[in-house]
Amino acid sequence: MTRIPRPTAEEMIRKTFARFTDDEIIPKAREMDEAGKFPRWMFEKIAKTGAYAMRYPRKIGGAGGNTTQFCIMVEELARGSMSVAAFTAMQCLMGTNFLYQYGTKDHHERLLKPALRGEKVASFALTEADAATDLGGAKTMAVRDGDHWLINGSKTWITNAPVADFFTVLCQTDKTQGLKGLNFFLIERETPGLYVSKKFEKLGTRATEIAELAFSDVRIPLENRLGQDGQGVGNLMRILAVIRTMTAALSIGLARAAFECSKRYSLERTQFKKRIGSFQLIQQKIANMATEIWGANLMTYKAAEMIDRGERALKEASMAKYFASETACRASDEATRIYGAYSYSMEYDVQRFYRDCRFLLFGGGTSEILQTIISREEGVY
């Protein structure tokens, strides 16, 4: 029998999620954005593709996919809607990672597996009012009280908070230990003392809901501490490269969306009886967008490849995220210039790209902190 090479998993994942984005997300993207609500129906539709389970091993119901494949998927989703890509990323990675790594069998059965099937929504709470880039400034305290942890404090900018069924929350257990005194805790939504604020009104990614959490004497079992004592930040660092590379992939998706509509419009729109694409200043914008997207693409998938080989890749992931998110912002800015006044109209998608791209600048580390990190990695600090 003849042997014929099969397509690669990467090609098939791209093709599948490209079609999903074109057929399911893009036609509804504006509607979801305008509604400003978590589109549970879309969350469930994505669940049917097994996306949330992509990164996890087969034995707990996962697909056993790698970082490259994961990045391809979220890149395609982000091309359709940054909101959708953002809550998908939360469910696939930050919201479930610590529960998978350090949760008990009961946690896995009751929460993780349903989350991977899209039956429960996961969330991840890191940021506080006074502790964002500076994680060590976290004031939310977890204090041991007999066979329970008692949690007090608050968290802000929590993606999926209004709709989540469980949270992975970073808390201080020992103020004297600095970063070593930080641990992750699993807190389920129905736990008494957990309060979720109204969702935030925000500029972009309007179909992901973000809110504040407040903890007032929240009592949780001892096994809800996820990971060895004092390992919270260390464990976070282990997936930081993945988070940044993934955010870079989200950025590429958005940049491509802005680029594709810019190309189309340059060929459609006429002024002075010529297609505007025939003007060199428009061509310059198109060329710059194409070049930067290509660069972001190479950096991002190189970083993903390194992670898949088991390398640390923190510098490369930081560079990719820094460059790709700035590329997305420049591309959506240039798109608005190509569209002229029409970009100012809510009728066109360009304004959504322009609003949504700002999200990429702080999720996964601001450009400023990333520059600091890259410089430090280069030995200059």
């Binding site: 014929i4 998993a9 093709k15 599948t16 087969r58 697909a63």
Partner: protein, 265 residues
């Protein structure tokens, strides 16, 4: 229960065009996809499998790269794939295509139901389904918008001009499916990763494997030949109307008054 689904890889026709200068088919940027209605046929088979103890095989004929749609079929949930590929199959009309596919289905063994899309959007002939049913000597129901299986028979709604027939036929049978039949599932990530592994069964068959001679299939076995192809052109003289909306409205009315064509009751 054994279900066989016929799928075809086609160029995505929404972006096929011909270069007016060279007359070449512009292949750049043209992606290959699974024929949309075939996807609905596969979904119908998979939803039968969800409820009954059934095995689903997907069969496709095409160039070697058509293995992509076989993998996609497996990623959606099919159990086994068969790809018919051979230079001898090239240039086949529907007679020669149904000869090859019919023989392959026969070689694959007994079956209860064959499902296919009503038509492929690159050719739009809708002939392969009925021709295979005739080749195999089994009843057919085309243009199916609803499907039920029970006690060795199939009951289907067939959409006809201005209406719908409810038809019953004993198994084995062949049905061709419309898009309104169902909403196809997407491949799942886990199955995608499986489908590309050599351990997931895909059989590759050539003309000899299915027991046909090269003269019976492909262009040589075809009863029709394509004499020429050309790009259709409009051939109208377009008159542009400009000015204020009222000028344009009067212009349109005047156009038809001049041509003595009646507007309005």
């Amino acid at each position: 229960m054994k279900l066989v689904v016929l799928i075809k890889q086609i160029p995505n026709t929404s972006n096929v065009r011909i270069d007016p200068k060279t007359g070449n088919l512009v292949r750049e940027g043209v992606t290959s996809i699974m024929n949309p209605e075939d996807r609905h046929a596969l979904e119908a088979a998979l939803s039968i499998k969800d409820h009954f103890n059934a095995v689903v095989d997907v069969i496709s004929m095409g160039p070697p790269q058509a293995i992509e749609v076989i993998c996609e079929g497996l990623a959606m949930g099919a159990d086994k794939g068969i790809l018919l590929t051979d230079r001898a199959f090239a240039g086949a009309d529907t007679w020669a295509t149904s000869t090859a596919l019919g023989n392959a289905i026969r070689k694959n063994g007994p079956f209860d139901l064959i499902l296919a899309g009503r038509q492929a959007i690159d050719g739009d002939t809708a002939q392969i389904g009925p021709q295979i049913a005739e080749f195999l000597g089994i009843p057919q129901i085309t243009c199916v918008s609803a499907l039920e299986l029970s006690d060795g028979k199939v009951v289907a709604n067939r959409i006809i001009e201005n209406g719908c027939e409810r038809i019953e036929t004993p198994l084995p049978a062949l049905v061709t499916c419309l898009a309104s039949l169902n909403e196809p599932r997407y491949p799942t990530v886990g199955r995608i990763l499986d489908s590309v592994l050599e351990s997931t069964p895909i059989e590759i068959w050539n003309a000899a494997d299915i027991g046909v001679k090269a003269q019976e299939v492909g262009l040589a076995g075809s009863l029709t030949q394509v004499l020429k192809t050309f790009t259709p052109k409009g051939g109208r003289e377009t008159q542009y109307l400009e000015g204020t909306p009222s000028d344009i409205a009067s212009g349109i009315v005047q156009f038809f008054v001049d041509r003595q064509v009646r507007l309005g009751e």
